[in-house]
C-alpha cells in the first residue's frame, strides 16, 4: 500500500544510489523546501475557501459560488489578483523592517513545520524537545508582527501590533501549561513518543477530566495566539481598519494572510498530536477487530481529518462570538484561564503520580 512513508523511503534510497550522500542530502533539502512551500500554498487556497464557505453558511448566506464549480476556484482567482497587484511601501515607513516583517512571519511558520509528524514515520526532524521547539519558535512570530506595526509608521498598525504583542505573550502561558499537561502524562517532549503513547487511546479519552480541561484551554489559547476572532483585537477591522497589516498590499499582504492560515493549521496539527493522537488511528483497548479496521485508513488521512475538525471548530468560534475588549481579553487570561490551567496542572500531576489514567 503506498503511503507517505514508502514514498519518502523510495526517494531516499534512489537518491543515495544515484548520487553521493552529500548531494543526496542537498537534493532532499530542496525537495523538502519545495514541498513545504507547496503545502503552504495549497493550505492557503483550501483554508480560505473553507473559511468563506463556513462563514457564509453560518450567516445564512451562500458564499462564493461563481468562479468554477460551486465557486471552488474563487481563491485561485484572488491569489492571481494579489500577485499582479503593486506592493506599495509608504513614504514614512522604515523600508527595511517593513519589507522584512512578512517574511519573518512566514519563515517562523515554516520552521515550526519541522518537528510535526504528518503520517506514520513521516517527519522532517524528530528532535527530542519537539514540543518545546514548537512552543518557543511560535512566539518569535510576535516579533514579525511588532516589526510590521512599528515600521508602517501608522497609528492603527502600531496599536494593532501592541495589542497583538500583549495578547500573544499572555495567552502563551495557558497554551504552554496545557501542553505541559500532556507532557506530564507522556513523560516526553518528543513528538513521536507522544503519538506512540496514544496507541491504546487518545489522551483526551485516557486523561479523564484534566485532559479535557487542558484541551478546551488549549483551543481557546491558540485561537488567541493566532489572532483570530473572538480575539482578533490585533486586526479589529471596525476599530483599526486592519491592524498591523493596514499598510501592506499585494504579495506582502498575501504573505501575512497566508501566515495566519498556516499558523491555524500548525496549531491544529499540534492540538491533534497532543490530544487526539496525531496520525494514530482510533484504537479502543483490546478490541482487535475494531482496531484493525481502523488501521486500514491511512495515517495521513487520520491526521488531516483531525486537524480539519479542529480548524472547523476554530472557524465556528470565529463566526459565532463577538470580539472581546482588551481588558476583557486580559481578564479572561489572567483571572480565568491561567488559574484554571495551573490547578489543572496540579490535578494532572497527581493523576500521573498515582497512575489513575489508563
Amino acid at each position: 500500500m503506498p503511503s507517505l512513508e514508502n514514498i519518502a523511503d523510495i526517494i531516499h534510497t534512489w537518491l543515495n544510489i544515484t548520487f553521493n550522500s552529500t548531494t543526496a542530502l542537498l537534493i532532499e533539502l530542496v525537495i523538502v523546501a519545495v514541498s513545504a512551500i507547496g503545502l503552504f500554498s495549497m493550505l492557503g487556497l483550501i483554508l480560505i475557501m473553507m473559511e468563506r464557505k463556513v462563514s457564509a453558511y453560518m450567516q445564512v448566506r451562500l458564499g462564493p459560488n461563481r468562479v468554477g464549480p460551486k465557486g471552488m476556484f474563487q481563491t485561485v482567482a484572488d491569489t492571481l489578483k494579489l500577485m499582479v497587484k503593486e506592493g506599495m511601501t509608504p513614504n514614512g515607513a522604515d523600508k527595511f523592517l517593513f519589507n522584512l516583517a512578512p517574511f519573518i512571519v512566514m519563515i517562523v511558520a515554516m520552521v515550526i513545520l519541522a518537528p510535526l509528524a504528518f503520517a506514520k514515520n513521516f517527519q522532517l526532524w524528530d528532535l527530542n524537545i519537539g514540543i518545546l521547539f514548537v512552543a518557543s519558535v511560535s512566539s518569535v512570530s510576535v516579533i514579525g508582527i511588532l516589526m510590521a506595526g512599528w515600521a508602517s509608521n501608522n497609528k492603527y498598525s502600531l496599536l494593532g501590533a501592541m495589542r497583538s504583542g500583549a495578547q500573544i505573550v499572555s495567552y502563551e502561558l495557558s497554551a504552554g501549561l496545557s501542553i505541559i499537561t500532556i507532557v506530564i502524562l507522556t513523560g516526553s517532549l518528543k513528538i513521536s513518543t507522544i503519538i506512540q503513547s496514544q496507541s491504546d487511546g487518545w489522551w483526551i479519552f485516557k486523561g479523564h477530566i484534566p485532559a479535557l480541561i487542558a484541551f478546551v484551554i488549549f483551543i481557546i489559547a491558540v485561537t488567541a495566539e493566532t489572532n483570530r476572532a473572538p480575539f482578533d483585537l490585533a486586526e479589529a477591522e471596525s476599530e483599526l481598519t486592519a491592524g498591523f497589516h493596514t499598510e501592506y498590499s499585494g504579495m506582502k499582504f498575501a504573505l501575512f494572510f497566508l501566515a495566519e492560515y498556516v499558523n491555524i493549521f500548525i496549531v491544529c496539527v499540534l492540538g491533534a498530536t497532543l490530544f487526539l493522537g496525531g496520525w494514530m488511528p482510533l484504537h479502543f483497548g483490546t478490541d482487535t477487530r475494531f482496531n484493525e479496521l481502523m488501521d486500514y485508513i491511512p495515517s495521513s488521512l487520520w491526521l488531516f481529518g483531525k486537524t480539519f475538525f479542529l480548524i472547523f471548530i476554530i472557524m465556528w468560534f470565529r463566526w459565532t462570538f463577538p470580539r472581546l475588549r482588551i481588558d476583557q481579553l486580559l481578564n479572561l487570561e489572567w483571572k480565568y484561564l491561567l488559574p484554571i490551567s495551573m490547578f489543572n496542572l496540579l490535578l494532572t500531576t497527581l493523576m500521573a503520580i498515582m497512575g489513575w489514567h489508563f
Binding site: 453560518m58 448566506r61 459565532t320 480565568y336
Partner: protein, 158 residues
C-alpha cells in the same frame, strides 16, 4: 463565597457560548434557511415582499379610472420635492367648478422611497410597486407621469 461566584461565572459563560454555537451550527447544517436570492438567475421566480418599496405608482382600475383628487397632500408630504401635481379646473354637468388632477409628475431620481406620500394620501390613490430595475441611459427618463392618458377620476371619490 468568592469561589462560588467564580465557578458560576464560568458556568454561565460556557453555557451562553454553547447556545450561540448551537444556533450557528444549526444554520451551518440547515442550508434551506439560506435567504440569499441569486438575482439575475432567478428573474422568473423572484419573489419580493409585499412592503418592498420600488417606485410610486398610481392605481388604475379596468375602466382607466384612478382615485386621485389632485389634493396635493402627497406633494406637501414629500420631503424632497419628488412629486409635482398639476391641477385643472373642471366644470361638472351641474355647472359647478371643481379642482381635478391634470398631470401627476413623479421624479424617480429624487425619490428616497420614504413612503410618506402613500401615508398622506387620503384616497389611497398611489402605492409603492415592487419593481426595482430602474436604470436608464438618460436622466430625463426618470421623470414619470403617473396618471395614464385619458384616465379620469372614479365616480364617488371626493
Amino acid at each position: 463565597m468568592f469561589l462560588k461566584k467564580y465557578l458560576q461565572d464560568i458556568y454561565y459563560a460556557v453555557k451562553s457560548l454553547l447556545i450561540g454555537m448551537r444556533r450557528t451550527g444549526y444554520y451551518f447544517t440547515h442550508h434551506k434557511e439560506i435567504i440569499t436570492q441569486q438575482y439575475p438567475d432567478n428573474k422568473d421566480s423572484l419573489s419580493l415582499p409585499e412592503r418592498f418599496r420600488g417606485e410610486v405608482v398610481m392605481i388604475h382600475d379596468e375602466n382607466n379610472e384612478h382615485a386621485c383628487t389632485g389634493c396635493t397632500a402627497c406633494e406637501l408630504a414629500c420631503p424632497n420635492a419628488t412629486i409635482k401635481i398639476i391641477t385643472q379646473i373642471d366644470t361638472t354637468p351641474e355647472g359647478k367648478k371643481k379642482k381635478a388632477l391634470n398631470t401627476f409628475v413623479y421624479h424617480l431620481d429624487l425619490c428616497t422611497f420614504c413612503n410618506l406620500c402613500i401615508v398622506a394620501c387620503p384616497t389611497d390613490a398611489i402605492k409603492m410597486a415592487n419593481t426595482f430595475e430602474h436604470s436608464v441611459f438618460d436622466r430625463s427618463k426618470l421623470t414619470k407621469i403617473l396618471n395614464k392618458p385619458d384616465s379620469k377620476i372614479r365616480a364617488g371619490i371626493e
